[in-house]
C-alpha cells in the first residue's frame, strides 16, 4: 500500500518534533518553526493544536514526551523491494550502493518491465568502466566542493580542456544521457558526459566562487486548435515546461511556453510534429525559422 500515513508528511513532522522532545530541546517556538518548515502550508493550523489539546497524546504540556528514543521506523517491504529493483537498472553501476540488508528481498518488478519506446538509441554507456570513473569523479567533486579539470571532445571533434566548478548533473530520459552543468568565472558550460575523455579533481573551491549563471528563458506563444484530441496531446507533451494556457474561443487556445535558448531547435521540431493544430505566433524569429523549413519542403515536394 503506497497511500499510507506511515509515509506521510504529518508522521515525518511529528517524528522530528518528538526527536526534539526526546533531546529535551522542544519549545512552542521550535514546534511552530518545524511544522512551518517541514509540513504543508496549513499544517501549522492542525499539528500544534492536536498536540496541545492532546487529541494526539504524544507531547505533554511542558513539551516533553514519554518516548524513550528518537523515533525511527524500519524500512517497509515496499521500500526495500523498490531499492532491490534498482539494482537491475544499468545506471546503478554509476552509484554502486551497498547491497547489505537486501540479500533476501525480492525486487519489486522483474528487469525489463519498463519499455521506453521512444527513447533515443544512442544513450550513454552506463556500464563502461571509463564512463563510470568520470561520473564518480564528477560526483565526488560536487560532494567535496572541488574544482574539476575536464578534457572532452567538442561537437566538431576537437579536444577541449576546461577548468570548472561542477554545478549540476543533468539527466534526460529522452536522450538517456547525462550532462554536467559547470561554471567558471568566465562562463557556464554544459558538457555531455559521454564526450568526457579525462576528469581530474582539483583544489577545493570557496562558496563565494560558486556563481553559475542562470539560464535565459525565452517566450514562445502558440495558438492551438483542439482538433483530434490536440489539446490534451499538446498540453501533456509540453507539461514539463513552465506554461500558461488561455481559451481564446470555442476550440482555440493560446499557450505561452517558457524555454531555454539552447533548446530552440528541438522545440521547433517538436512544434512541427503537431502539424497544423499548432501555430507559432511569437516570437517572429521562431516563426521565420519554421516558415523557412516549410518553404524548403515546398520546393522539395515530389509527391507521386
Amino acid at each position: 500500500m503506497l497511500f499510507s500515513e506511515v509515509y506521510g508528511t504529518y508522521y515525518n513532522v511529528l517524528a522530528e518534533l518528538l526527536s526534539k522532545a526526546v533531546e529535551g530541546d522542544l519549545t512552542q517556538e521550535t514546534m511552530f518553526r518545524i511544522v512551518r518548515q517541514k509540513g504543508f502550508e496549513e499544517s501549522v493550523l492542525t499539528i500544534p493544536e492536536a498536540l496541545k489539546n492532546q487529541t494526539w497524546p504524544l507531547i505533554t504540556k511542558d513539551c516533553t514526551t514519554p518516548l524513550e528514543h528518537k523515533p525511527t521506523m524500519p524500512l517497509t517491504t515496499l521500500q526495500k523491494r523498490w531499492l532491490k529493483a534498482l539494482l537491475n537498472d544499468p545506471r546503478i553501476r554509476l552509484f554502486d550502493p551497498p547491497m547489505e540488508g537486501l540479500e533476501d528481498v525480492e525486487p519489486l518488478y522483474p528487469p525489463d518491465t519498463f519499455v521506453y519506446f521512444d527513447r533515443y538509441n544512442d544513450g550513454d554507456p552506463f556500464e563502461d568502466p571509463e564512463y563510470i570513473r568520470h561520473f564518480r569523479c564528477i560526483l565526488s567533486a560536487i560532494h567535496h566542493k572541488r574544482w574539476l579539470r575536464l578534457q572532452f571532445t567538442g561537437n566538431k571533434g576537437t579536444t577541449h580542456c576546461w577548468k570548472c566548478i561542477p554545478y549540476k548533473l543533468e539527466y534526460s530520459a529522452k536522450d538517456d544521457k547525462f550532462r554536467l552543468i559547470s561554471a567558471n568565472s568566465r562562463s557556464t558550460l554544459s558538457i555531455n558526459l559521454g564526450r568526457v575523455k579525462a576528469c581530474f579533481l582539483l583544489e577545493p573551491y570557496a562558496d563565494e566562487d560558486y556563481r553559475p549563471k542562470p539560464m535565459k528563458k525565452r517566450i514562445l506563444v502558440l495558438e492551438l486548435t483542439d482538433d483530434r484530441n490536440a489539446l490534451e496531446r499538446v498540453m501533456l507533451h509540453f507539461s514539463h515546461l513552465d506554461k500558461e494556457t488561455q481559451r481564446i474561443d470555442g476550440n482555440r487556445y493560446k499557450i505561452t511556453l517558457y524555454y531555454e535558448q539552447e533548446d530552440e531547435t528541438e522545440l521547433l521540431i517538436r512544434v512541427l510534429s503537431f502539424g497544423p493544430v499548432l501555430k507559432v505566433v511569437f516570437p517572429d524569429d521562431f516563426v521565420k525559422k519554421l516558415c523557412e523549413r516549410l518553404e524548403k519542403q515546398k520546393r522539395m515536394r515530389t509527391q507521386d
Binding site: G8, Q54, T60, L75, F95, Y109, D118, H240, V287
Partner: protein
C-alpha cells in the same frame, strides 16, 4: 465534515490535480464532476501541498487555478506530496510512535503485553481517559506486519511482535535514491526514503522530465506487483475518447510502456476476451484488482517479443496488419547530423544511405499513421514519402498544405 488538508481517498484528488496540471485554463464552474464546495476543498488542499507551484489568473469567466513548473529547475517532483497526505486517526498516530518506541531495542512482546505497556508506560502521562482495546491493537500490529515494519513470530499459542530487521545504510544510498526518485517510474517510493535523510542531494537536474505520472503510482504499483507475481488482473478503464464510462477488462499484464517524449504510460497486456495484445493508458485506469495466477505467462511473453518487432508506439493498427513505409530525405553537405538523427531516433526498421546527400528510412509497422508526428520533424528535407497505407501519405501532405496556409504561404 470539517475541512482537513489530509485526505482519505486518493481518487478524487488524482483527477483534480491532473486537470490543474495539464490544462490550467478552467475556472471553478467548469469542474463539473463535483459540487463547487468540493472544488473549493480540493483546490485548497492542492494549494496547501504545492503552494509554491500553484498559479492564478483572472479571466472573464472567473479565476483560473493552475499548476505550472519547469521540471528542469526543481530537484524533486512536487506531485509526490499528494501521496503524503493520507489522513489517520488519533489512535493510528499514537500507536505508531509508541509501538515503535516500545520495540526499539529489539524487544518482542505479545499484543496483550503491548497494550499493557502502551497504557502503563505512555498514555499514563496524559489526562485523556482514552484507552484502546486489544482488538484495535491486534489490527494495527497486523497492518504493520503486512507493511514489513514489524515481524510476528509464533511461540506456543502466542504471537510475539518485534521490529523488522533493517540494516540498510540509507545515507550510503542517498545519491542513488535522489536520482531514481525522479527517474524511476515508481519514484514516489524513493521520495519517501529521501524524507528519512537529514539532507537531500540537490545536484541532479532532470530535462524532458514528465511528472504527471506520479499521480498514477498506486495503479502502477498494483500492476507491477501482478507482473512480478505473474498474475492476471481486472482493470477498470475509462475510454475517454468513446463513452467515458468505466469498463472492466480481464488481462494478463506484461510490460509498462513509457513515452519519454510525451510522459504517457501504458500497460501492455494480453486481453483474454479479445485474444490479443492491447495497450491501456495508466491515467485512464481507475482500479486494478489482482486475479488468478497465470500459468501461460511465458507464452504471452513470447507473443510480446514477436509483437515488438513491428511496433512504433502503442498502436496495434487493425488486426496486426503491417504497413510498409519509406521516407527519403535529402540533406545538405553541412547536415550530416540528419542520417545520425535517423539512426538515433528510429524504432525498428533500417536506414539506407543512398548517396552523399540522400538517406532513406524503411520500416514495417502495425500502424504507420503513428509515425506522422515524427515524420513531420523532418519537414524541409523530405524528398519522398511512400506508404502501403495511402491515407498516411495523403494525411501528411494534406496537413502540410494546411500548414502552408496557416503561415500565409500558398498551397
Amino acid at each position: 465534515m470539517a475541512y482537513s488538508e489530509l485526505i482519505k481517498n486518493f481518487d478524487r484528488i488524482r483527477d483534480y490535480m491532473r486537470q490543474f496540471y495539464v490544462y490550467g485554463f478552467k475556472c471553478r464552474t467548469e469542474y463539473d464532476k463535483k459540487s463547487a464546495r468540493s472544488y473549493d476543498n480540493e483546490r485548497r488542499r492542492v494549494e496547501s501541498w504545492l503552494g509554491d507551484f500553484m498559479r492564478f489568473r483572472q479571466s472573464p469567466d472567473g479565476k483560473n487555478v493552475f499548476l505550472s513548473v519547469d521540471s528542469r529547475s526543481i530537484p524533486a517532483n512536487p506531485l509526490y506530496n499528494a501521496f503524503k497526505a493520507k489522513s489517520f486517526t488519533a489512535g493510528d498516530v499514537t500507536f505508531h510512535f509508541y509501538i515503535l518506541d516500545l520495540l526499539h531495542n529489539g524487544e518482542d512482546y505479545t499484543a496483550q503485553e503491548i497494550l499493557n505497556l502502551f497504557c502503563g508506560k505512555y498514555l499514563c502521562h496524559f489526562e485523556s481517559d482514552w484507552q484502546p482495546d486489544i482488538s484495535t491493537i491486534r489490527k494495527k500490529l497486523k497492518e504493520y506486519v503486512s507493511l514489513g515494519i514489524l515481524r510476528a513470530e509464533k511461540r506456543g499459542r502466542e504471537l510475539y511482535y518485534s521490529r523488522a530487521a533493517d540494516s540498510i545504510d540509507l545515507q550510503a544510498w542517498a545519491d542513488t535514491i535522489a536520482f531514481f526518485s525522479e527517474e524511476n517510474p515508481l519514484g514516489v517510493v524513493g521520495s519517501t526514503l529521501l524524507d528519512k535523510l537529514k539532507t537531500q542531494p540537490d545536484y541532479y537536474q532532470h530535462k524532458h522530465h514528465y511528472m504527471l505520472h506520479a499521480l498514477d503510482s498506486q495503479i502502477l504499483l498494483q500492476l507491477l506487483t501482478a507482473i512480478g507475481e505473474k498474475k492476471a488482473v481486472q482493470i477498470t478503464h475509462i475510454n475517454q475518447r468513446k463513452t467515458g464510462s468505466p469498463v472492466v477488462h480481464t488481462v494478463c499484464p506484461l510490460k509498462i510502456f513509457i513515452s519519454s517524449q510525451g510522459g504517457r504510460q501504458y500497460l501492455l497486456c494480453y486481453h483474454y476476451r479479445f485474444r490479443k495484445m492491447m495497450f491501456f493508458r495508466l491515467d485512464y485506469i481507475q482500479k486494478v484488482e489482482s486475479g488468478a495466477d497465470e500459468r501461460n505467462y511465458a507464452k504471452y511473453e513470447g507473443f510480446y517479443r514477436k509483437f515488438l518487432t513491428h511496433l512504433w508506439g502503442t498502436s496495434t493498427g487493425i488486426e496486426y496488419n503491417v504497413d510498409h513505409l519509406e521516407m527519403t530525405l535529402h540533406f545538405d553537405d553541412n547536415e550530416q547530423h540528419i542520417p545520425q538523427r535517423l539512426e538515433r531516433e528510429k524504432r525498428n526498421g533500417r536506414v539506407e544511405i543512398i548517396d552523399q546527400n540522400t538517406v532513406r528510412y524503411i520500416v514495417d509497422v502495425y500502424d504507420a499513421s503513428e509515425t506522422l508526428p515524427w515524420l513531420r520533424t523532418f519537414i524541409g528535407r523530405i524528398e519522398k514519402l511512400e506508404c502501403s497505407d495511402e491515407h498516411v501519405v495523403k494525411k501528411f501532405y494534406d496537413d502540410l498544405a494546411q500548414m502552408y496556409t496557416l503561415y500565409g504561404g500558398e498551397e
